[in-house]
């Protein structure tokens, strides 16, 4: 882990990846706070983990499956019950910039 400082440009890029609209002041604040926290995270550099395996799960488990059987779906009403907008039994969303 290199000691890198996160810049406002980085913050803007991460905000785009996260789909979070940030105001100018927020970008400044985030840059400062994120830098502090990342500096703390760099503590892990003190440990040599060269030959250590990564644990993405806390308990070791394997081979959990379900059978290929059909179970009941939701009614269309229930499926759309929380939709902010819907039309013709579909979820309605603002214009997608069409790439297909």
């Amino acid at each position: 882990m290199k000691e890198h400082k996160i810049t406002t440009k980085d913050v803007q890029h991460v905000a785009l990846l996260s789909r979070l609209h940030l105001r100018e002041q927020e970008i400044e604040d985030y840059t400062r706070i994120l830098n502090d926290i990342l500096e703390y995270f760099a503590k892990l550099n003190q440990l040599d983990t060269e030959d250590i395996a990564a644990s993405s799960h806390s308990i070791n488990m394997e081979n959990v499956f379900r059978e290929d059987r059909i179970t009941r779906s939701l009614s269309v009403q229930d499926a759309l019950s929380n939709a902010p907008e819907s039309e013709e039994n579909c979820f309605k969303v603002p214009r997608i910039i069409q790439d297909t």
Binding site: E62, N63, I70, V76, N89, R95
Partner: protein, 482 residues
């Protein structure tokens, strides 16, 4: 300067499981929107995925058939990006430990065969569908149907081992065939079971350096993929001719203009931030399990061909053609089950049926002539109810109307005349009207009998049973011999 293309493909195929990959919703095609969804595939708060064992086994089957090494431990990763047809805004896929890798498939290349490497085979979930209705400017919106979200997909990533559009076509066709034979997917193009992505670069012929790679997404048919490849080869070659550089980018096929265009979206580079899926546990694919799947593979092309030759007593030529695709082989066998004239059925399939399927770009199971219909037709010929010639007229009627051959024959009054008395009447009429020809025959020119047969057929409007006509005519002529 001459250029050669370097082509790799990514193919997504929808699996033929009954239920989705991580939940029990049905996978039936064409249902009304959002009628096959549940909290899990809707990505609602708090829901969790559970892996469909059949989907996994189909993936293992496919990887084995593609000569891949199978990962002893395979696991799932999250591919993070935002899109309204992806309700969780991440796709559960595989990145760090794909199920199959370093495989290959043989494709025909001219008279020979060549190997195309398979980089990896992995399992993932499909997204839903977006619709963009026509709206006035400024009021645009999109509609999302999540029935397809959560369908199981196998992605097959090839090595960049193809060097022409015929290569690519052979690859796609061979792979489609294999997937159908493996019974992991029906590969129905009209139901979107197969989707193609092309990675293509161009370099000077003979060079071993790779050119700049362009990615083209969302190609829904082999035809489109080929058009796209051919266009790209030209476009990139032209750029390189002028000394310019090809831009590394993702492009889309634009059907109306018959060309590719750059993507318009705001975000140019996608950072998928793959990380291990915490809600699923790893899968251990033991050797005994692999062996079991290998030994339980459905009958593949070679084996079926051999069986057709033996069981149905067909020549190799026929067996080759009939097994060239599984739907066709199935069609043939269904016919034979109803009416056991394998050779007769084979002939009709290889000539009439396949011609029509090709002309109409139709799959055997889309054909209005069902195996039952075709079997009936051939049975009618074999029983002498209609002649072979009439049958050739019935066939296009069947195709256009989807009606049973019996119905058509009845409506058109095309029943074969096999009544010997009736034929005798016509024969007598013909003999009378063609006394000169009769004399020629009696003088020794046997061949002219054919003309007389033709006359009988003409008068009977093709309905007379030619075999009987021939026999009766010859008898009569013999009896006229001095």
């Amino acid at each position: 300067m001459e250029f050669e293309p370097v082509i790799g493909m990514e193919i997504h195929t929808e699996l033929a499981t009954k239920s989705k990959i991580f939940c029990g919703c049905s996978t039936t095609f064409g249902s009304p929107p959002n009628t096959q969804v549940c909290p899990v595939c809707l990505g609602m708060p708090g829901v969790l995925p559970v892996l469909n064992k059949k989907a996994l086994e189909y993936t293992i089957r496919t990887a084995i058939a593609l000569n891949c090494k199978i990962s002893e431990i395979t696991s799932f990763d999250r591919k993070n990006y935002y899109y309204p047809d992806l309700p969780k805004n991440y796709q559960i896929s595989q990145n760090y430990a794909c199920l199959g890798y370093d495989g290959w498939i043989e494709i025909p290349c001219g008279d020979q065969r060549k190997k195309v490497g398979i980089n990896n085979v992995h399992l993932e979930e499909d997204a839903g569908k977006n619709y963009h209705p026509e709206t006035p400017v400024g009021e645009e919106y999109s509609l999302v149907d999540l029935n397809r979200a959560g369908m199981p997909l196998i992605e097959i990533v090839s090595a960049p081992d193809m060097h022409s559009s015929p290569d690519a076509l052979a690859y796609m066709t061979t792979l489609k065939n294999l997937l159908q034979y493996l019974e992991v997917s029906d590969c129905k193009m009209q139901e979107g079971h197969l989707r193609f992505e092309v990675n293509i670069s161009v370099r000077p012929k003979g060079s071993d350096q790779l050119g700049t790679r362009v990615e083209i997404k969302n190609l829904n048919s082999m035809k489109t993929a080929i058009k796209c490849i051919e266009h790209e080869i030209e476009r990139q070659s032209e750029i390189l001719e002028t000394g310019e550089k090809v831009l590394q980018e993702t492009r889309l096929w634009d059907e109306p203009s018959g060309s590719t265009r750059a993507m318009r979206s705001k975000e140019v580079a996608q950072d998928y931030r793959y990380f291990p899926e915490p809600d699923l546990v790893k899968v251990l694919i033991t050797t005994p399990w692999q062996e079991k799947i290998k030994s339980n593979l459905p009958e593949l092309q070679e084996a079926k061909k051999k069986r057709f030759i033996k069981e149905h007593e067909l020549p190799e030529y026929d067996a080759n053609i009939l097994t060239s695709s599984k739907p066709l082989a199935d069609y043939f066998e269904k016919c034979v089950k109803i009416h056991p004239n394998a050779k007769g059925i084979s002939n009709w399939i290889m000539t009439e049926l396949m011609r029509e399927l090709n002309n109409r770009e139709m799959e055997p199971d889309e054909c209005p002539i069902t195996p039952g219909h075709l079997a009936s037709l051939i049975k009618m010929i074999d029983q002498g109810t209609i002649s072979g010639k009439i049958a050739k007229q019935v066939f296009p009627e069947m195709l256009d109307s989807g009606k049973l051959p019996e119905e058509i024959v009845r409506e058109k009054g095309w029943l074969q005349i096999s009544d010997e008395e009736e034929i005798l009447k016509i024969v007598n009429q013909v003999l009378e009207e063609n006394s000169d020809t009769v004399k020629t025959i009696l003088a020794g020119k046997d061949k002219a009998i054919g003309f007389l047969v033709g006359q009988v057929m003409k008068i009977s409007r093709g309905k007379a049973n030619p075999g009987i006509v021939n026999r009766i005519l010859r008898q009569k002529i013999k009896s006229m011999q001095p």
